[in-house]
Amino acid sequence: MMAAAYGLLPLAALLTAVATAAIVFALGDARRRQRTFWNLFGAGTKLALVLLMAHGVLQGHTLEVAWPALPGATLRLVADPLALLFAVLSSLLWLITTVYAIAYLEGSGQRARFFGFFSLCVAATFGVALAGNPFTFFCFYELLTLATYPLVVHRGHSAALAAGRTYLGYTLGGGAALLAGTAALYVAVGEQPFTPGGMPAVAEWADRAPVAATAVLALLLGGVAVKAALFPLQGWLPAAMVAPAPVSALLHAVAVVKAGAFGVVRIIEDTYGYALAAELHVTPVLSALAAVTIVYGSVRALAQAELKRRLAFSTVSQVSFITLGVAAGSQLALIGGLAHLVHQGLMKITLFFCAGNYAETLGEHRIDALNGAGRRMPVTSAAFTVAALGMMGAPPLAGFISKWYLGIGALAQGQGWVIGVLVASTLLNAAYFLPILRRLWLLPATRDWPARAGRAEAHRGLLDPVLLTATAVLLAGLLAATPLSPLGWAARIVEQGYPGL
């Protein structure tokens, strides 16, 4: 009895987010207090369920729910360590982002719609994380596209609609490639669960038909590369910057780009297996593209005058570290890439929250208007500084840990050029983050900002999330050696799942 209920945990966590969405839709715009309660209750419950699952996985349990959707295609949710890495990240950040969004959107219209789709997004992200086979992965991946669209166009003005069109053009195009690839994979090898090290049936198939297998792999990777914002498919991400700050946080840190990067991991490591992907000459192309994206995103970020746009290009660059870690093909690099999945999320969500605070409290969107903002908003600016230094890879912050593992991992594979990419990225990151820090702290204020309303520099709901995530950036770096840190968990995934790398 207990065991059966335990096994249903993945479904319960998924349905928690769906039910939250349904309740929020049903409550409508007017009932603010009830909506806030259900939002926080749903997010909290889901986090609790996910942590319970993580506990179960640590005990060595397998949590699995599956039912047949079609003859030959099963919807299957499995809690393995890799799934939980992403699920814990997204559930935790969902709770924090909900708190932030409630404060941020106070007084704006269509909040029921916003929070309803927000919950659906997280349900979809959870499904992507726990998908136990390519069919399930595709279903939730597409659901994520649909659920994020109303959030991207939330403001409803023509710039938002145009950004929404761009977003859909890219993501639905990617979705079509992923659909064709997944269906072709099923036709070729039937249904296979995600298997660490690759599906044996795929290896046999690739032996028989290497060209078809390569083409399908290209379709699959092309599909997820859109959301992972891999060059040259990154165009939607900066365009989607018109969305409100909590949505940017969702796109950049919690859900969308992460779903893409996570898809790369599932396809390379758990569908084809690294060895086969390398044999088909796909991983060198992938690491080259990741390297190009890292440098390209950083160079473009340099030229942006608007804070959120600069951060968006920074995401383009940073997310590709995950892909790079996968494509490098050593255990250490994969650990670095997976840890970066979490680290980048924590750092980027902090940065976007801060950008939102500047916009909301001071009304500033441009970087050159932030002179002296550090004195007006010290807490926000301190958090920004921590996250920015982390992005640059300054020890002992989270970003340093991932880059370190990526670097030594690549060296172990004899790919010294990756060090060059890392150095270039660090220099470029410094070149676009340090001037912001200089303006915040060193330059005198040039603008008359509205006086503080109370004792705090901004609404508590905007400030507490920032403090939490900035602290997490610090702790993820300082406590990296502990087994339950992102790095520790990533190491556990790799040691258990991919001993052969």
């Binding site: 409508g28 039912w67 003859p71 409803g156």
Partner: protein, 492 residues
């Protein structure tokens, strides 16, 4: 209890017919509850029939105990049961929706006409799915057409009268072609029974001519490109409940019969060339309908063109049915497509009806800043569109996946490309509409008058129809198991 199950076949036809008669005699105003009772009774009969087909295989009922070729046979296999069930779901929803829609004080005249027409049409649709011979099929098809045309014209305004007249003339032409084909077959084989004709008819010239005539008639009734021209004015000018049944049921009956006849009666004639021709028309429908839907400036024509596009998918089965590696999955996909499209399209048209009812128009540009009172209807519209796009987690997606898997499994790349491209185009026209509904009102616009209040039932019905598509999106396995009952061996 096979006999009890068989009895529910004639009941599925007779109950709506009887209700129509009583409503006609009493007048809809004096007995507003009667259509609801009749609908529930029909649903119960259909549920019983479906249960028996699922449990005991195909069911046959011989009227008066006479065997074919002399007597009339009603026959329900898995495909027919699936169509009956989908029709029952849409029929119940439309009946529930039409009550408050018609009895609100503005539509008295329409109400008097709508109920008998719609209930006879429901009977005729059930008769179409159950008919086992070509002549009864002709009668049922005529009955469907002759009730569909007045439903288009029911408001009596100039646009709908013109659309109805065009529909009537083309539909009669279609009936004529069909009847001519039937006469040729009867002359050649001496029987009209669907399977007997299939056993006796050769692959010779007269049979081919007959098949061509019958198919042309059905393609016209099914609004397949290039014979779709009548559909859009007819379906977009009819009142909401009529639009829903016309698009979700009436034209789909035409497409259903194309599949039924080619797979059961003329399989010998289904050469690769014929398959490619019919599949090509389906593909052209998919692409042309979607592209036209992208260009419309009003909501109902978008949905009507989407019908043209969606009806093309089931026809893709015909070229795939001849490829052994593709046939089984494509067959499941095509049948499930009809079910998914029926529910989603009825939901979409009823939701659009709410928007029109409330705002007094359905111009896309006028949807900007749409009132919060309509948010449930917009949600229902959006949910239904997701299924039409073939995206998860809907029945439309599962159908598309099966069809696509069939095409890829058989190495039929062109059809696979059409399926993927059609989905992208559907996403284009669907999200173009939804973007307008999500957009904020232009700030320079004066405050709009509050929209007319929607009765609660009209708000709930489209949402429930749309949600049904998601329920069927969780698993297609029960429906596909039903479909296996009496499926042609080539598709097993």
């Amino acid at each position: 209890m096979a006999a009890g199950g068989a009895l529910s076949l004639p009941l599925a036809f007779l109950l709506p017919l009887l209700t129509a008669l009583v409503v006609f005699l009493l007048g809809a105003r004096r007995a507003p509850w009667l259509p609801g009772i009749g609908a529930l009774a029909t649903v119960a009969a259909v549920a019983d029939a479906v249960r028996h087909v699922a449990a005991h295989g195909p069911q046959a009922y011989h009227l008066g105990g006479w065997m074919p070729p002399l007597g009339v046979e009603l026959y329900a296999d898995g495909l027919a049961a699936l169509m009956l069930a989908m029709t029952a779901a849409v029929g119940l929803a439309v009946t529930a929706y039409a009550g408050p829609y018609l009895h609100d004080g503005h539509h008295h005249q329409e109400a008097e006409r709508f109920w008998p027409l719609w209930l006879v049409q429901w009977a005729a649709l059930n008769g179409t799915f159950l008919a086992a011979d070509l002549f009864n099929l002709y009668i049922m098809l005529e009955l469907v057409t002759l009730t569909a045309v007045p439903l288009v014209a029911i408001t009596g305004d100039r646009a709908s009268l013109g659309a109805a007249m065009r529909y009537l003339l083309l539909a009669l032409l279609a009936s004529l072609a069909y009847l001519l084909g039937v006469a040729l077959l009867y002359g050649g084989t001496g029987t009209l029974h669907l399977r007997q004709v299939g056993e006796l008819v050769g692959a010779g010239g007269p049979a081919a001519v007959a098949a061509a005539l019958i198919t042309a008639g059905l393609l016209l009734k099914g609004a397949i490109f290039p014979l779709h021209t009548w559909l859009v004015p007819a379906h977009s000018n009819a009142p909401a409940p009529a639009s829903a049944v016309l698009s979700a049921l009436v034209v789909q009956a035409g497409v259903y019969l194309v599949l039924r006849l080619w797979l059961w009666t003329f399989p010998a004639l289904l050469s690769p060339a014929v398959g490619w021709l019919l599949g090509g028309l389906g593909a052209a429908s998919v692409l042309y309908g979607s592209l036209q839907a992208l260009r419309q400036s009003r909501l109902k024509p978008v949905i009507a063109y989407s019908t043209v596009a969606q009806l093309g998918y089931p026809l893709l089965l015909l070229p795939l049915a001849a490829v052994p590696a593709a046939a089984a999955q494509a067959w499941q996909g095509a049948a499930y497509y009809i079910v998914a499209h029926g529910l989603a399209k009825a939901g979409a048209f009823l939701a659009a009806g709410n928007i029109r009812y409330s705002l007094g128009h359905d111009r896309l540009a006028g949807l900007r800043g749409i009132a919060p009172e309509l948010s449930v209807s917009v949600l229902a519209l959006g949910l239904a569109f997701v299924s039409l796009m073939g995206l998860p987690p809907t029945a439309g997606f599962l159908a598309k996946w099966q069809l696509l898997s069939g095409a890829l499994g058989g190495g039929q790349w062109p059809w696979a490309a059409v399926i993927v491209l059609g989905g992208l185009l559907a996403a284009g026209y669907g999200l173009r509409v939804l973007a307008m509904a999500l957009a904020a009102a232009p700030s320079d616009e004066p405050v709009r008058r509050p929209p007319q209040r929607l009765p609660r039932r009209m708000v709930a019905v489209p949402l429930l129809l749309a949600l049904a598509v998601y329920l069927l999106g969780v698993s297609a396995v029960p429906a596909l198991r039903l479909l296996e009952q009496g499926a042609p061996e080539a598709l097993g």
